[in-house]
Symmetry: D2
Subunit: 364 residues, 4 copies
């Protein structure tokens, strides 16, 4: 564009000649402009610009995690960029308020002109999903149909190609598996943790038996059933075969090892070296939550705009969208980790040497 030494002009730098000449309402072309079609176009264009920014951040994070050894300063960069994505997602959600200033009657004025275009054809949003780690086989059938079915051939190919490259959740899993702190010759953290949990549950059982006399038969039964339920839940954590079974059924994404190490980070986030990993896990949950909220609110809006009619792209509408909101979550495993937390006061004490390793060299 410009010679780098030439003075820069705001409008040129932002390429406003192209940007502001990209809004051409169909209704205007047929000589019957619907005032709100411009809004419809601009809202979607703003979405696409933000998607581009999110992709820019996701790619840079993938580059970080796609290394065998990650420097601490790179982790802080990752945190920074995850937080940026969250801010953008907040805007994506709030922006639905702008779209909702268009009433169903206003939409009807130009809706038929758009058939069969549909937001499902946003290639960038599909790229975001794939980069995060949403897999074709995780999608519901109806979503799978829209996923590629409505796209042009070159867009389809691009997405299929991208699905073969590592995703964020995959790289995260690798990184979590490499975490070194939970097992040394002298210290078997997970052995200790399991003992602690067993002791807690035994204690609970004794308490129940002690109170036997005061409990109705039904209450006793229920309390023992609950206790058994908790035991079985912890078994899904500690026994690899059970974990793998859940993984095969699609109820877990991360390996057992990665899951355990993520749990370790949550439990010992106060150790300096775990602070950034903890913040990264928190942020990934936030991002999952924000996309889910966005999808859900988008589904309600579609319901309001179209009633029970099908969408312009032939989509079966708000029911599909709502189910996708919940189904397309990627970092569900991290949410489930809370199931396995125990109180700080019961946590195994880390060996002094390990604690030192997890702190800074500097001793003031």
């Amino acid at each position: 564009m410009h010679n780098i030494n030439e003075p820069v002009y705001y409008g040129d730098y932002l390429e406003l000649n192209k940007l502001l000449d990209s809004q051409h309402p169909k209704s205007k072309k047929i000589g019957n402009e619907a005032h709100d079609e411009t809004l419809f176009i601009i809202v979607h264009q703003v979405y696409e610009l933000w998607f581009k920014q999110i992709l820019h951040e996701l790619h840079s994070m993938k580059d970080v995690f796609d290394q065998k050894k990650i420097m601490e300063s790179e982790l802080s960069t990752v945190v920074h960029r995850l937080e940026r994505i969250k801010k953008i997602q907040s805007i994506l959600i709030d922006q639905l308020d702008v779209m909702e200033t268009m009433t169903p009657m206003d939409f009807l004025e130009f809706r038929d002109l758009l058939v069969p275009a549909s937001g499902f054809q946003s290639v960038q949003f599909r790229e975001i999903e794939i980069l995060m780690g949403l897999r074709t086989d995780q999608r519901k059938e109806v979503d799978r149909e829209y996923f590629l079915g409505r796209l042009q051939k070159d867009d389809q190919d691009r997405l299929l190609e991208m699905e073969k490259t590592p995703s964020l959740i995959g790289l995260l899993e690798d990184w979590l598996e490499r975490m070194p702190f939970t097992f040394t010759d002298e210290f078997d953290f997970w052995g200790e943790y399991q003992s602690t949990v067993d002791d807690m549950l035994c204690g609970d059982e004794i308490t129940i038996q002690d109170n036997k006399a005061t409990l109705s038969e039904k209450a006793l039964e229920m309390q023992l059933a609950n206790l058994n339920g908790t035991r079985m839940t912890f078994a899904t954590l500690f026994e690899e075969s059970i974990h793998n079974g859940l993984k095969e059924k699609g109820e877990r994404r991360l390996s057992q090892k990665a899951t355990l190490n993520a749990l370790f980070i949550l439990l010992y986030r106060d150790e300096p070296i775990l602070f950034l990993p903890f913040v990264i896990l928190e942020n990934l949950m936030d991002i999952d939550e924000l996309f889910t909220t966005w999808r859900y609110r988008h589904a309600i809006m579609a319901h309001r705009m179209l009633g029970t009619k099908i969408g312009t792209g032939g989509s079966s509408g708000h029911k599909y969208l709502k189910s996708a909101a919940e189904n397309n979550r990627v970092f569900m495993d991290l949410f489930n980790l809370s199931t396995f937390l125990i109180p700080r006061s019961k946590l195994p004490v880390l060996p002094a040497k390990l604690k030192e390793q997890m702190n800074f060299s500097y001793r003031g």
Copy 2:
């Protein structure tokens, strides 16, 4: 408190002595204060204060709608208060961000001390649901259990008593049914509307038949099936018996007459006398949408905080909460109205005399 002529002091006026002396963490009482329990208390207290305000507004609106004849200035007051409720709801949603600054590990520090207290015991929130028009028989079984089961006797009684009084949706239905504009001796609006719809659908059928040669057998079949589907959908609007059948199954709340008049308001919102009614319907949908979003985000937060554990009140957790988000909507019928809209250009023309009635006396 004060003699009305005495000077007023800020702290006295707001009764801060009581208000700021209502935070007593359980963990502090047992000598092991969990820093975040104060947050937990205050966030819930703020919720309760806002619930009180919402109830204040809902009661005042019920008083308006509980009249046979409502003055225009009262409708503008209703709009004003609906918009206030929406602003408060936005705060309720954003406030979840504050709650989420408490991590699951922090919650674990005092969670056991609260058993079996639970947010389901918020009597004020139940009052809001009842006032809006959520009925016991609309609730899912699990919700019904929490609805009264966990409350103290006097709270239960109060809510049951309240369920017997008219709700907002009931009063809205009455008001919609009383709307006078769609039928006079000379003008049968719904007859015309139905003809228009029939003509549109016949036109569509002719188009399909004309294109027969260009369509595959399967495509032809599908297009005809779609057309038939649309016909059947409109039948649910126009045929009272079908509408009533849906009502009995709980798929409709409003009577056919109220539904038709609500649709009329949407279609002719540009007539001055319909402007406020239109804004009221829009706001009721907004409020429904905001409560739904709040419930949904609350469900995700519960998942994150507790994993798959059950809540302090024995609630089965995030899955229940998510299903309630969608199930407990009250103004679903209004969302569905979009199904029945037709383009402005096809709308029946209103008689001049009717249009005059719907405008102001003043002629400048």
Copy 3:
């Protein structure tokens, strides 16, 4: 682009080929890409897209107000579009949070490459200001310099041309002046209002004199001074010559007649015919407030990003921006109206005939 009968593709409709090919960081061109420059570009592009939408709405409103006789349905359209602008403004403000994820050190990586481009060169934002009614002579000197001084010749010309066309505040003034209700042969509203105010102030004076004995000399003096101040304030409302004097000094924008009629709308907003005008005035204040907040927060961000350094376009930075936030308000007169309100219970009673005129023809 497309033949209107051809199926529409999402990416084509949104012209994504252009839109997503308009981000070319300078730092990348010189072979040393600064990661955050993409964010910088995209945030500004999103601003420009929203500015385009705001202009789309402002122009459509100007078209409405630029008529001698405005239909009621057009007023409801105006309200709708004003509310849309507000939603967009909220996004503009929240979007600053995204920009602030770029730290000053990150900005420094590419800042020098942009000299002397500057946000002051956003022609669209200048157009918004002009359409709203910000006049060159209202701008502070430093703002005047940036207003045109940094723009390219054709952009300058376009803005100067636009300044000659009617602005929103000018058209609003005309519309307010045309409002017919406050003076008829039998009813002189403003005469009555002035009497009422005079009576109230006399009552206040009598009260002060009655309490003379209980007041210190200084307190007496102060109370009388206050009372006098209030009298003088009301004089700026009622006496045209004083009002015009303030107008000449730039302390008022609207004519006395328009000001009085705006006050009448605030006082009698419950009359059906005044509801929409009231909502319009409220919304104009909201918009003014939102732009002011945006400018102010933008100023703080500039301070944080640049410290006390001057901006890329040579702007003197955050101090200028802060002063512009307050100075460039357009609808200040509407904010000041609250000064002249009196309690509902003291309001002159409107003649029955007038009240009837202000209501709907329909009598149920």
Copy 4:
């Protein structure tokens, strides 16, 4: 309240009997209830609850900083709580939207009953200001008058007592001054930084002189003046006497040493040991910015509600509030630091030994 073993009831735990019985509108007492007075009360009560939470966080942070040696895990706790305060502040700002649903006419209905109560009498907000570090002598005269003048004696005494204890900015200053990394026997960071800056500025001067022939006399003069300005600006950083002079005039709050170390943190935030300190500084700026925004928006709201009338507490209204928004900032020095940043490529290289000290013991 409860025995700790007794089952907890939601309403008891939250002390709702007190909380929900603390709203007693004055207008209702005199038999003429103003509907919106309840809103007025509840909004202010919610503010006070949030203020209590902010104080809870601020006190806990003070406890951390009020130690000679702060553990890393404590710094992460501080970050966590600063971020919580920010979320609360966002709510405080958004909540103004709720307040603004009350129109000036609605406020007028009960305003006179509140005289002379005023938000300036919020003792908790004053405590927040004092804890942050706002000093009486920093306040403008008018603010000083409201600061204590309108409070009851015991509230005055409490605040005066609190002013004698260390504030957050004071403790931050101590902590920054203790930071050890910038000077060792082998490494004088600030000497190097100053040389670098000098070299940069000399380079700039040479460039100017080289281009002399191409510049007009006036342009040459201006460029040299600018350069000189930059030199003098950096002198305020490097020369303690100049810094102290500014401090005496109230233009700086932090000591030169603390200022330099804060700058070091900004420059080398990528070193692991500086990550948390960097985040703390960022968050303190965010908090300052959010309070400022809140004050500013509050000022605009007051203008809108009262026009140019004085507030219920006799306050001179929106002009005062606006000036306080800018004047009462505490962490201005941190915002100004951006003035002194230089590009990463020019930063002095830290000695390997120092870099090692600033990293974790663990070497994977």
